[in-house]
């Protein structure tokens, strides 16, 4: 469940690691097909930066492009975004599970220690009280 095997795609992680790329991806998700210039008008970074980020998203297969006349239109690849989302959710869930286990184990260990100490105290009390 928590293994890092083929389900963990470094390219995808890298692609969405950058907040700029996350916002571009969301713009494409919400607004549909767009050109680099169109996207650049909606974000506080240059068209060149947008183009660079789109290239990374394309390498990770999250975005595809097609030429229309003189324009290049970018859009999201739904199935790939679907599996990317799944992977990202799974990585988070795996940690939730692990942390819950860590909590349970540590608390059980601690409780066991308290019980042992109490018994120890009780024994001592017994010993002292039985000694006149």
């Amino acid at each position: 469940m928590s293994a890092r095997s083929r389900s963990f795609d470094e390219e995808v992680w890298l692609a969405v690691a950058d907040p700029s790329r996350r916002s571009l991806l969301e713009l494409l998700i919400n607004g549909g097909e767009a050109t680099a210039s169109g996207l650049a008008s909606e974000v506080p970074f240059s068209r060149q930066a947008v183009a660079k980020h789109l290239a990374v998203l394309e390498r990770a297969n999250l975005v595809s492009s097609r030429r229309q006349g003189r324009e290049v239109l970018f859009s999201v690849r739904a199935p790939e975004v679907d599996s990317a989302a799944q992977m990202l959710v799974n990585v988070g869930r795996a940690w939730d599970t692990r942390l819950q286990s860590i909590k349970r184990i540590a608390e059980e260990l601690h409780q066991a220690t308290i019980v042992t100490e109490l018994r120890g105290d009780a024994n001592e009390t017994e010993t002292t009280s039985s000694t006149p």
Binding site: M1, S2, A3, R4, S5, F8, E10, W13, L14, V16, A17, D18, P19, S20, R22, S23, L25, E26, I29, V43, P44, F45, S46, A49, K52, A78, P79, V81, D82, S83, A84, A85, Q86, L88, V89, V91, G92, W95, D96, R98, L99, Q100, S101, I102, K103, I105, A106, E107, L109, H110, T113
Partner: protein, 151 residues
Amino acid sequence: MTAATIEREIKIEAPIEVVWEVLTNPAHIVNWSAEEATLDLRPGGAGSLNFTEHDHVSPLRVETLDPPNVFSYRWSQPDGEEPTEENSMLVEFILSEDQGVTTLRLIESGFAKNDWSEEKNREYYDDHSNGWDHFVPRLASYAASAHVSAQ
């Protein structure tokens, strides 16, 4: 914070030393992570997590060790490579204790060579609506709806 990160925080009703032990002792690690674990507990020390169920061994390398407050390691590097800042994920556990309750923070980050040349738009990135923990659920819900409409 510039990287893709998973951040979690959990409160544990146990002293910090106990939580530290659970985090760093392979005898305990096998109960919350992989089925088999080895760990050379020193900075730069090697370890491995063997997820036998998936037939997958994840080698790891201890990055920072500051008992009982900080334990971090790198993993998820490509097979056969040594983990570096650029090819691996960094897992950080940060512990603090207040009146017998330990707060354990987990941060997993990586692959995020900071390549923004445009630091001037800092506040844009600091906007939490654009942050990782908000992004992932939105992406997932988009994916779910796209999946449905594609069928």
